[in-house]
């Protein structure tokens, strides 16, 4: 006895995430969000609560999605091939289809570090989860004698993460995939993980 399901909530969140991703949290105004999501103001507050809670939802989605990419790759690939695949998927592919996006979590940390402790903490937690996933993969390889490096699995993961963050800053700049690609390759060769 009602009007059937709601509108397409997932697509709306997706559109909001994309806007937050390119414009940042503060610069994404309510009218901007409503237009991007294609819903009315009242529906927004009925379905998502506040702008802040929607942002948290987007941050979770983005973080989980990124982690999934990494973990799926970890099943298919050797640990040594993992960083390249991850950089390819999360830096190069993104940069190709639209410049100046970078990474929502890194963007959030840099924008809100001293402004919103909770959001900063959430973004940091998601980034830590990625580093931990790298650590696990390297540890596994180390136990199987597949990894030959002067660094421990933890150190290696930490180094990959530092480079990863650097790459995501550069992908948020105007750097084209043409310039990003050799940086990635040189970084991998530095890590002893080049082809």
């Amino acid at each position: 006895m009602a009007r059937s399901p709601e509108f397409d909530r997932k697509k709306a969140v997706e559109a909001a995430m994309k806007l937050f991703w390119t414009r940042g949290y503060t610069a994404s105004s309510l009218p901007d969000l409503l237009e991007a999501m294609g819903i009315a103001r009242s529906s927004f507050y009925a379905s998502f609560g506040t702008k802040r809670s929607l942002f948290i939802e987007c941050l979770e989605l983005f973080g989980d999605r990124t982690l999934t990419i990494l973990e799926d790759d970890a099943k298919r690939l050797t640990p040594a091939a993992l960083p390249r695949a991850f950089f390819q998927a999360t830096v190069l592919d993104v940069s190709q289809r639209k410049a100046k996006q970078g990474c929502l979590m890194v963007n959030t940390v840099l924008e809100l570090a001293d402004v919103d402790a909770q959001l900063n903490q959430l973004a940091t937690k998601k980034l830590d989860a990625i580093e931990k996933a790298f650590t696990r993969a390297f540890q596994l390889a180390h136990e199987n004698g597949e990894l030959h490096s002067p660094h421990s699995p933890e150190e290696l993961a930490s180094l990959v993460m530092t480079i990863n963050l650097g790459l995501r800053v550069q992908s948020r700049q105007n750097l084209s995939p043409k310039k990003l690609k050799p940086i990635i390759e040189n970084s991998l060769s530095l890590l002893g993980l080049a082809a």
Copy 2:
């Protein structure tokens, strides 16, 4: 026949820079700036124009100061010792005296990449100047046969820069100097520039 010089302009800019540095551009409101600078609203607009033009002044100051640190080090040290000294001065020392500052230029790029093209371009230009300074130092060392690396001076500078950006993201997070220090050392060992 007037009230003698103005108030201490340099100190006011300094205070503004510090606020922009920790809070970012948007989150630094006019009242916040006025309190930090210790001047009245009217004096602000008489001396600095708009908030935006003051920010540009701060960005220039910060960028030039960072570049000066690097160029002064380049005069005293060997190119191989340059990255450590630079990381020490701009990442560790800053992080020790107050956490979550990072680097004003990196913060700006991440906050305003798709919001303010001009400010983004200015910050990027300053970052490029730093990379170019590294390139020059490595080129000089290469010509003198002092540099032994499988990578060209340009590639090496590019790698240092990627790691540099990554470190600055981490120093904007909650990472303590205790955690930053080994990351720096491992990065340097990776680059073949360790002690």
